[in-house]
Symmetry: C2
Subunit: 215 residues, 2 copies
């Protein structure tokens, strides 16, 4: 599959590398076609890795990952272009962490809205699936690195899109029964608002953790 | 121990009943000394159970539980009286769920503040410990009702107060290693902002669940 990965941070690189390892063709997108981080990643990640602008990456992908910071995701997707995400599954991994007032960060949107919902409203023809935003990047693509059972959440308005993302997550190593469908995209409020607890837990146990829903 | 339990909802009743079963003397407090819910609870919960006003309950307790709704906790504690909580451990179990705009509820305070912090600021001589607000009432006092490992969070500025609450939680059935200290009272933002995810999970798996931090 051809996948566009928007964002050159650790999340974009980690997911991009995993997708290349799984045999997908990945184009990492950024603001500029000559972004150094993206070029270095593409040079090192293997034969299936390329890079380009947000628009180029989105246009090339049958499926698109939004791995930009939630504070700038709408802008990045605007640069990617509505025509390049319409009709496609758009996996939103972002969190609206706002460090502008210092630490701990606040959320730039929360409570009655979320980045996931903002993206779905701005790009109504995209099939937005919120996923993977509740854990460290390394765990997203290597769930077995955390011992025991732990879970990944998906939410979105399109059941077919969620099923496709669920398959992709299983190819990342997630057992099907540990993929929890929270319902429509408004559930993104829940997973994004979990971030302040995630940050406190990271301070207590370090980044290599994830939560499990025991029931 | 003498314990004041503020609030006559399911959380107050459940915690009050458990405390009575453990041999503590519990006074359930409410707005009015003749509250029917409190009177019925006191009549049915056993020899150690009484009821009274918020002020009467707080005054009688060596330790005080705030089990009122987070939307009215400051008001309830104001009625309880600063002199009746000063110097005492004040366990805050509340969540600021605001149903005034319909469902799902929003949080009446979040992001850069929390009920736990509001209470600590308003009653600086109380030793506020946020705890137990991340699960259904039945699980708070019967953790073994959920299979497998799962966790309870405590936060607060006073280590001695957190140690005392930890002992009480162990008497409720929580293993010491499943009580996670998140640090100072600002961590209450994290546990209160987890509520939207908790509500979505409740819709998916029902109320009999709790989360475990796998690491």
């Amino acid at each position: 599959m051809k996948v566009g990965v928007l964002g050159t941070g650790s999340v974009g690189k980690t997911i991009g590398t995993k997708l290349v390892e799984l045999g997908h063709e990945v184009t990492m997108g950024s603001r500029s076609a000559t972004n150094e981080q993206a070029a270095e990643w593409a040079a090192s990640a293997g034969a299936g890795a390329g890079h380009g602008t947000f628009a180029g990456a989105a246009a090339s992908g049958e499926l698109v990952f939004n791995c930009t910071s939630g504070m700038v995701s709408l802008e990045a997707l605007g640069a990617a272009g509505e025509e390049n995400v319409s009709g496609k599954v758009l996996v939103d991994v972002s969190n609206p962490l706002d460090f502008s007032k210092g630490r701990p960060p606040t959320l730039s949107v929360c409570n009655d809205d979320s980045v996931g919902e903002q993206i779905q409203r701005a790009f109504p023809e995209a099939k937005v699936v919120k996923a993977l935003n509740t854990m460290n990047a390394a765990i997203m693509v290597d769930p077995a690195s955390v011992p025991g059972e732990h879970d990944v959440f998906v939410s979105g308005n399109d059941d077919g899109a969620k099923a496709q993302v669920s398959e992709l997550l299983q190819s990342f190593g997630w057992p099907a029964e540990r993929i929890i469908d929270l319902g429509d995209i408004t559930a993104a409020r829940g997973t994004e608002m979990y971030l302040p607890l995630w940050l406190r837990l990271m301070g207590t146990v370090g980044p290599a953790f994830n939560i499990h829903v025991a029931s």
